[in-house]
Amino acid sequence: MNLEIGPIFRAMMRNKVGAMLIMLQIAVTMTIIANGFSIIQERKALMARDSGVDIANSFHLSNVSFAEDFDMQTAVIDDLKAIRELPGVADAIQVNAIPLSGSGWSMGLQTEAGDDIDGSGTAVYMVDDHALSAYDVKLIAGRNFELTDLRWRTDNTNDWADVLIATEALTKSLFPDLTPQEVIGKTVFINNHEPIIIIGIIDKLQAPWSGWNNLDHVMLTPDRLAFRGNRYYIRAEEGVRDDVMKRVEETLSNRLSGRMIQGMESMEETQRESYTGASGMIKMLTLIMIVLTIITAMGIVGLASFSVNRRKKQIGTRRALGAAKNSIIRYFMIENLIISGAGVIVGAILTVGLNMILVQAFSLTPIAWYYVPIGMISLLVIGQIAVFGPAQKASSIPPALATRSA
């Protein structure tokens, strides 16, 4: 088969500007698409991180007292008892903060006491002995809290409980060389000097801040909360969450006066809100990429159609001289392939260049190398698809056109 690459290329060089415009258009399109795709993948990876909890079946709400004489301690005990007895509730706890909700409490832990020791930052969830079951997390070493570990934390409490349960990620950052079993029983220090013993390790739990570097650093402390306000975190049994949410709201609202039950929200919603920026970015980039592809494809169609029109006589002549329809189609396909080929090569360079700028200026993840060839191939395919219509139109130009005087 004779591909005519030489003459096609030489003919194209006679109309450099037109070819160059499409070439550049393809290059920039590829740059945007490859980088956009890279950003989308980066955000998707963020969103796909395992929260550790049963997102689909859990929800939370806050409980704020306003009556001066409100007895929060009794309320918490009775509320939890009432919630746990409701049908469809798997388990429930009171807690100071909710994973991915954006607000919470963080502390530093260090392996030696002292003011000048660097520590590991961690989120703190103050919970009771039902926490592991409510979060649906796995204990991979040590033991759960027992009733005897629990204490009441009030506005005036300034010290910390004697024991804690940590996520594996947190213990790995504190004791990089120890196995989970070996970490159990170790003493760490909070507030620089105050010792706490690690009694249990759980596989996974996320902090309240999805943008935080230490998202997987969480410590659980055995504190019942007698603050003016606290939260309840509830896990429903599979598939009945929405019913349970209604039931919990009714039960709590009617139980006591002098407090407000508010902000009830499913963990699905909490997680969604936490990643609004990421998912918005994904949607915007996707839209831009689609529209851009359409524009570039339309541009190729438009210019190819124009060039077919301009070359009608020439095409007729080629047909007269013995070109089969396929040869004409092939001519335009190859012409486009040459231009797109140059475009994606320039595009590959621009893609990497733009990515370096983005990485530098916005500390994005560097683009994975294989997005470059994928981007190149995609644009070549898009170009070929776009040019096929005009090429077919060209092939239907009758050979007799050659004898028609202009």
Binding site: L21, F66, D115, N158, G280, L285, M298, G299, G302
Partner: protein, 437 residues
């Protein structure tokens, strides 16, 4: 002559409807994408208080951990302790000054139809209102006296007044919060600086708090810390007062310094204040005080998120693709007119006249694309708002400047896109096209 060119341009555009539609929509999409992201970025980086943003300074002093800077490299804390915020404000060394903090409480309206609800409070000194030019609908800020010996007074926002009192002049009425009766002494007119510069730490595009109360009431009423509370060492002792007087930072402070001299003087004052405190055993770190004006503070706190900037640059590239597209199509279009151009040249049209004629055509396409693009960017902003939610709703619109910018960008870019094809098309010898080939 211009109307003649316009008429010709219209005719020419109508003659090749598909090609023209392609060009107009390419420009429209490019402008739409660009203006959407430009608008968001422009609004996010807008000056929230233009007439005095260079006279308002955010105050930072380095009260942090001797062993670790608050942030690298050696950046002082972004908030103040209660102690320092109070001391610095009461010293009164600036033209105006106010410590401030966020708090909240449950309001129990007298009206039994309104259930108790939680309201956000901005605690501040009365200079807050003058310094930031907060407009009042009814009543006035509290007195200087109320700042020192706090009275149970409150200034409501228009929205909260609407909710509590149906929008009537409620000055003198009271609302119950934690069994305290707060007396309303003023209602602010809607005031939503964007970005909400005075407290970036709790989100630059969040709403202004529901109500304002004298700063000292935090201590008096033992109001909780809202916003961010950061500590580098635990409070000594237990109870509300020890927490309030700890080294934890939960307060902001702004000063108004009308000129450079005032700024210098205030800097000196800050240094001497910190040195005094050092003598008392506080401030273990070296002197590192900062006065940052509004716009610099916005920049320092990265008010414009990276994603917005990334989208801005990507949308410029998008526009570039659209323009390359338009140049190509315009060249195609003008090439079909080469015989007409040759004829016009032959009958005496100057090159310049033809150039202008075709530039008018390119400009007209740009104008049409601009109008369509403006519509698209309004749509785009709606889209952005629905994608990113409340956080962005304050910045997802266009003002007159932006609309003008959209048109300018459209016409400018399409004329720029039209220049080369026009030049090329008009560079035809008068006779060459008369002979049929």
């Amino acid at each position: 002559m211009f109307t003649y060119y316009l008429r010709l341009a219209f005719k020419s555009i109508k003659r090749t409807p598909i090609l023209s539609a392609l060009m107009i929509s390419a420009i429209a999409l490019g402008i739409g994408a660009c203006m959407t992201t430009i608008s968001v970025n422009y609004m996010m980086s807008a000056d929230p208080i233009p007439h005095k943003s260079d006279q308002l300074y955010y105050v930072r002093v380095d009260s942090w951990d001797p062993y670790n800077a608050f942030d690298d490299p050696n950046i002082p804390p972004n908030q103040l302790t209660w102690t320092d915020a109070t001391n610095l404000t009461l010293a009164g060394k600036a033209f105006r000054q106010s410590a401030m903090a966020r708090s909240g409480g449950v309001l129990e309206p007298d009206n039994p139809d309104i259930k108790p609800f939680q309201a956000g409070i901005r605690l501040a000194y009365n200079d807050f209102f003058d310094m930031f030019d907060v407009p009042f609908l009814y009543g006035n800020p509290w007195t200087d006296e109320a700042d020192i010996n706090p009275e149970l007074v409150v200034v409501l926002t228009e929205q909260l007044n609407e909710r509590l009192f149906g929008g009537e002049n409620s000055v003198g009425r009271t609302i119950k919060m934690r069994s305290n009766d707060l007396t309303v002494i003023g209602i602010t007119k809607t005031w939503e600086p964007v970005p909400r510069f005075y407290d970036i730490t709790t989100g630059p595009f969040n709403d202004v708090s529901d109500m304002f109360m004298p700063y000292r009431l935090k201590q008096e009423l033992e109001l909780p810390n809202w916003g961010n509370n950061n500590c580098w060492k635990p409070s000594e002792g237990s109870g509300f007062m020890s927490r309030l007087l700890s080294e934890c930072i939960n307060n902001q402070m702004w000063v108004e310094l009308p000129n450079e001299q005032a700024r210098q003087d205030y800097m000196d004052f800050l240094d001497s204040y910190v040195n005094e405190q050092k003598a008392l055993g506080r401030f273990p770190r070296p002197l590192n005080n900062k006065l940052t004006d509004v716009m610099d503070w916005m920049k320092h706190e990265n008010v414009v998120p990276d994603d917005a900037e990334i989208m801005l640059w990507l949308s410029f590239l998008f526009l570039l693709v659209c323009l390359l597209n338009t140049i190509g199509l315009l060249m195609a279009k003008f090439a079909t007119k080469s015989s007409e151009i040759g004829l016009r040249r032959a009958v005496g049209a100057s090159k310049q006249a033809l150039f202008i004629q075709h530039l008018v055509e390119a400009g007209l396409i740009g104008f049409a694309g601009g109008i369509l693009g403006l519509g698209l960017s309004l749509l785009g902003l709606e889209g952005v708002e629905s994608l990113f939610g409340d956080f962005i709703s304050k910045v997802a619109h266009m003002d007159a400047t932006l609309v003008a910018m959209a048109f300018g960008l459209a016409v400018l870019s399409s004329v720029a896109a039209g220049l080369y094809p026009t030049w090329k098309a008009c560079n035809i010898a008068p006779a060459s096209q008369l002979k049929s080939q």
